[in-house]
C-alpha cells in the first residue's frame, strides 16, 4: 500500500508538468491557432474575433488559470468545429481506442510469449531463428503497411472480416476488432518473443530451477511453474514501456480501418485546426500513459515481491 502511495505521489509532478507542456504547446509555439484555423484568406478582424472567442487574447497567466480551473472541473472546452464539449467527444472515443490497444497487447502476448518459450527451448533451431526474424520484422515494418496488407488480404481478396467501423453488437465489435488488433499488436510480438526467450534462458540456468529439476519435477512443470513466472516479469516492462508507441500505432490503425477512436478524433481535429479537441486528446493520452505506467509498476511489484522491498 505504501509502495502504491509513493508511486502515486511521484506521478503528480509528471502529470502536472505534462499538462503545463500541453498548455504552452498550444499557446507559446510560433504559429497562431486562430489564423491557422481560418486559413490564409481570413481578415485580421476575423482572426481577432476567433482569438477572443478562444480566449487567446487574454494574458497568459489568466489563460493558464482558466485552463487549470477547467481541468479541475473536467471541462476541456468546446470543439470549435462540432460545438460539442471536448469531454463528450473524448468520452466517446477513448473506449474504442483502449479496447483496440488492449486487444493489440493481448495479440502480442498470446503470440509472443509461446513463441519466446519455444525459441528458448529449441535454441539455435529454425524456430529460434524464425522468432528473431519475426522480432526484427515486427519493428521494421510500419504499422500502416501491416494494416494495409491485412485489409487487402482479409477484406478485399478474401472478404471474411469487415474493413471499416467498430460494429454495433458484440459479434460485430469482435469481428471488427480482429484485423486492427493484429495490426496494432504485431510490432510487439517479436519484442515480447525475444524478451521471453532471453530471460527464460537465463532463468533456466538459475539454482532454483536446477533444484526443481533435481526434485524430479516434469520439464513442463519446471517451466510453467517456476521458470516462466520470473521470465515474464520483463515482458510486463516491455508492455508498459511500449504503451505510448502502441497508442500511436492505434491512431494509425484507426485511420486505415476507419474506426472511431482517439486517433480519428485527433486527426479530424488537426485537419480542422480544432485546437480545444487537439489539446483534450493530448491530455487524455498523457493521462492514459501515466496511469498505465503506474499499473505496470504495481503489476511488477505483484509479480516480483523484491520490488516492494
Amino acid at each position: 500500500m505504501r509502495h502504491v502511495f509513493s508511486r502515486l505521489l511521484q506521478l503528480i509532478p509528471t502529470t502536472v508538468g505534462a499538462l503545463v507542456v500541453v498548455f504552452l504547446l498550444m499557446r507559446v509555439l510560433p504559429g497562431d491557432p486562430a489564423a491557422a484555423m481560418l486559413g490564409t484568406n481570413a481578415t485580421p478582424q476575423a482572426v481577432a474575433d476567433l482569438k477572443s472567442q478562444m480566449g487567446l487574447d487574454k494574458p497568459l497567466p489568466q489563460q493558464f488559470a482558466e485552463y487549470v480551473l477547467g481541468l479541475a472541473h473536467f471541462d476541456l472546452g468546446r470543439s470549435l468545429a462540432l460545438r460539442t464539449p471536448v469531454t463528450t467527444l473524448i468520452g466517446q472515443a477513448v473506449g474504442p481506442t483502449l479496447l483496440l490497444t488492449l486487444c493489440g497487447t493481448a495479440v502480442s502476448v498470446i503470440v509472443g510469449v509461446p513463441l519466446g518459450v519455444i525459441a528458448a527451448l529449441k535454441r539455435r533451431t529454425w524456430i529460434d531463428y524464425a522468432a528473431s526474424v519475426g522480432a526484427l520484422s515486427g519493428i521494421s515494418v510500419p504499422v500502416f503497411v501491416w494494416a494495409l496488407l491485412l485489409l487487402l488480404a482479409f477484406t478485399l481478396d478474401w472478404p471474411i472480416l469487415p474493413s471499416a467501423g467498430a460494429g454495433d453488437n458484440p459479434v460485430d465489435v469482435a469481428r471488427s476488432l480482429v484485423l486492427p488488433a493484429i495490426a496494432t499488436g504485431f510490432f510487439q510480438v517479436g519484442l515480447i518473443a525475444r524478451v521471453t526467450r532471453s530471460t527464460l534462458l537465463s532463468v533456466l540456468a538459475d539454482d532454483y530451477v536446477r533444484t526443481a529439476r533435481a526434485k524430479g519435477l516434469a520439464p513442463t512443470a519446471v517451466i510453467a511453474g517456476h521458470a516462466l513466472r520470473n521470465a515474464l516479469i520483463p515482458v510486463i516492462t516491455v508492455i508498459g514501456l511500449n504503451f505510448g508507441t502502441l497508442l500511436g500505432g492505434a491512431v494509425v490503425v484507426e485511420t486505415v480501418f476507419t474506426r472511431p477512436g482517439l486517433g480519428r478524433l485527433i486527426l479530424d481535429a488537426i485537419n480542422a485546426r480544432d485546437y480545444p479537441v487537439i489539446q483534450g486528446v493530448m491530455i487524455i493520452s498523457v493521462v492514459l500513459v501515466v496511469v498505465l505506467n503506474l499499473l505496470t509498476d504495481l503489476l511488477y511489484s505483484v509479480a516480483d515481491p523484491r520490488v516492494r522491498a
Binding site: 509532478p13 509528471t14 502529470t15 508538468g17 505534462a18 507542456v21 504547446l25 498550444m26 509555439l29 510560433p30 504559429g31 491557432p33 491557422a36 535454441r123 539455435r124 528473431s132 522480432a135 526484427l136 520484422s137 519493428i139 521494421s140 515494418v141 510500419p142 504499422v143 500502416f144 503497411v145 494495409l148 485489409l151 487487402l152 478485399l156 519484442l191 525475444r194 524478451v195 526467450r197 532471453s198 520483463p234 516492462t237 516491455v238 514501456l241 511500449n242 505510448g244 508507441t245 497508442l247 500511436g248 500505432g249 491512431v251 494509425v252 485511420t255 486505415v256 485527433i266 486527426l267 488537426i270 485537419n271 485546426r273 493530448m282 493520452s285 498523457v286 500513459v289 501515466v290 505506467n293
Partner: protein, 308 residues
C-alpha cells in the same frame, strides 16, 4: 582496437555486410539523385496514369502518371535526411542534457530529469503530429517535431551511461589530480559513453524514418508533390487493388531501409559490447525507441581510456 573488431565482425557477417552495402547505396542515391537519368518525380502525364511496371517505367506510374522509381529514389532523400537530422538534433541536445543530469548533482540534474519524464509521458507520434501541425510541415519542422520525442530518450540513456561511468576509478583519479569538470567530462566520461551512443544513434535512425513515414502517411508530414515514402503509400492506398505497385515499392523501400539500419545497429552493439557478444546469441533489444537505463556501459571503453 574496437573499430578493427567492429569491421571484422561486420565484414565476416554476410547479412550485415549486405545491410552496409544497401545503406551505402541508398545514401549515394539520395545524395546524387539529381544527377541520375531519372524522370522528373513531379512531372505528370495523363497518358501514363497507373501504368504497371514496364521497361519504360520500371516500377510503374502513379495516379498522376509520375514515375514511381524516380519518386522512390527522391523519397529516400527525405527519409534519410529526417533520420540523420533527428539523430543529430536529439543526439547533441539529449547528450548535453544527459551529461548535465548524470554528471552533476543538485537542481540542474533534478530539473532535467523531471522535464525528461514529462516529455516521455507523451506518446511520441501524437506529440510529433501536434508539433508539426503547430509549426507547419516542412523538412525542418518534421525533424524538430520528431526530435521533441527522441531527445528525452537520448537524455535518459546518456544519463544512465554517465551515472555508471562517473564513479569509476579513473574518473575519481582525474578528479583527485585536479582536472576540471569540463575536462573530465570531455576526456574521460564522454569518450567512454561513445560506444553505447553510437549504437543508440544507429537504432534511432530507423525509428525516425518510421515516424516520418507515419506522419507523411497521415498527411501531416511533407506533403505531395514532394515525394516521401509515407505520402506515396497514402496516395496509393485508394487504388491498392487496381495498382498495388503504388504502395508496394515505397513500402518495400521503408521496410528494407529500416531493417538494414536495425540489423546494423544490432551488429554494432554486439561487436562493441563483449557482455552481449559472449552470450553467443543476440540479446533482445527491449525497445529500440525507448532504451532503458543501461545497467552497464559498453565494456570496450575500458580498453580505450588510460587511467589518469
Amino acid at each position: 582496437m574496437k573499430f578493427g573488431r567492429l569491421w571484422r565482425s561486420i565484414s565476416r557477417n554476410l547479412p550485415i555486410a549486405i545491410c552496409v552495402v544497401f545503406i551505402a547505396m541508398i545514401t549515394l542515391l539520395a545524395i546524387f539523385v539529381q544527377f541520375l537519368p531519372l524522370a522528373d518525380p513531379t512531372s505528370q502525364s495523363v497518358l501514363f496514369r497507373l501504368k504497371p511496371p514496364s521497361p519504360e517505367h520500371v516500377l510503374g506510374t502513379d495516379r498522376l502518371g509520375r514515375d514511381i522509381l524516380s519518386r522512390v529514389i527522391w523519397g529516400s532523400r527525405v527519409s534519410l535526411l529526417v533520420g540523420v537530422g533527428v539523430v543529430a538534433v536529439s543526439g547533441v541536445v539529449g547528450t548535453i542534457l544527459g551529461v548535465i543530469s548524470g554528471y552533476f548533482r543538485g537542481w540542474p540534474s533534478v530539473l532535467v530529469m523531471r522535464v525528461t519524464d514529462i516529455f516521455l509521458a507523451f506518446p511520441a507520434l501524437i506529440l510529433a503530429m501536434v508539433t508539426v501541425t503547430i509549426l507547419g510541415n516542412n523538412l525542418l519542422t518534421v525533424v524538430l517535431a520528431i526530435s521533441v520525442g527522441v531527445i528525452p530518450r537520448f537524455t535518459r540513456f546518456t544519463r544512465g551511461t554517465i551515472l555508471s561511468i562517473r564513479e569509476r576509478d579513473y574518473v575519481e583519479s582525474a578528479r583527485a589530480v585536479g582536472a576540471s569538470s569540463l575536462r573530465i567530462i570531455w576526456n574521460h566520461v564522454l569518450l567512454n559513453a561513445v560506444d553505447p551512443l553510437i549504437v543508440l544513434c544507429t537504432l534511432q535512425i530507423p525509428t525516425a524514418i518510421l515516424t516520418e513515414a507515419l506522419l507523411s502517411f497521415l498527411g501531416l508530414g511533407i506533403t505531395d508533390p514532394t515525394p516521401t515514402w509515407g505520402n506515396m503509400i497514402n496516395s496509393g492506398q485508394i487504388v491498392i487493388r487496381e495498382a498495388p505497385w503504388l504502395t508496394f515499392f515505397p513500402g518495400l523501400a521503408i521496410v528494407l531501409t529500416v531493417l538494414a539500419f536495425n540489423l546494423l545497429g544490432d551488429a554494432i552493439r554486439d561487436a562493441l559490447d563483449p557482455a552481449v557478444r559472449d552470450l553467443g546469441a543476440p540479446m533482445p533489444r527491449v525497445d529500440a525507441s525507448l532504451p532503458a537505463e543501461p545497467t552497464h556501459t559498453a565494456a570496450p571503453s575500458r580498453e580505450l581510456t588510460p587511467v589518469s
